[in-house]
């Protein structure tokens, strides 16, 4: 499974786990078109990974 380090490399998933040294303030995003905006923040020295539920074969 690849790991990305460069500017602009992105991961996108339904469930992303993160391990980090510092978290910045969490901001709520309000979009005019949608009632429920999301949230955004910035992590410093972070390791983020897409995870999915696992089971034994």
């Amino acid at each position: 499974m690849p790991t990305y380090y460069n500017l602009g490399d992105a991961i996108e998933g339904g469930h992303i786990a993160c391990q980090f040294r510092k978290i910045r303030k969490i901001r709520e995003i309000s979009e005019r078109t949608s009632r429920h905006g999301g949230m955004k923040t910035t992590l410093d020295d972070a390791y983020c990974v897409i995870t999915k539920p696992l089971r034994l074969k």
């Binding site: 469930h15 786990a17 391990q19 999915k52 089971r55 034994l56």
Partner: protein, 150 residues
Amino acid sequence: MGYDEYYQTAKESPKGIVRYYREREARSYDIPADYYTVLKTLLSNEMREQFVSTKDCREHIMKLDGRYSRLLMAIDNLDQRLKRQEEIEIPRTIEIREVTIEKAKEMIVNYLKEHPSTYPDDIADELAIDLKTTMQVVEELIKEGKIEEM
């Protein structure tokens, strides 16, 4: 004695009329139109200036009640925001254990036997293993064909 007759008798003395109105108020909210006028006449000049009718008091109480309800809603809202903030800012501390890859593999397989359909990050939290190590082990276990994603 009916209330109308009682009213006629009570009107004869100031104390009687006050008692009549008090009893009537205790029984129902149907206050006669002259209630406040009669009461005012019984008061001294100084008290008359400060007189506040029950109706005004009720209106004031209604206003206070509205403000109280809004305050309760605001407190509830703040409480929810505080809880969300606490969830984010005061995390449960996990002491990460140093385990070998082989030991971690064994622990994760055993954990999945008891808890099928679990996210790797939850496994890492529960077993107190580093997330990177957990993902490395998960990758190896998937390659070995022991586990699969749902």
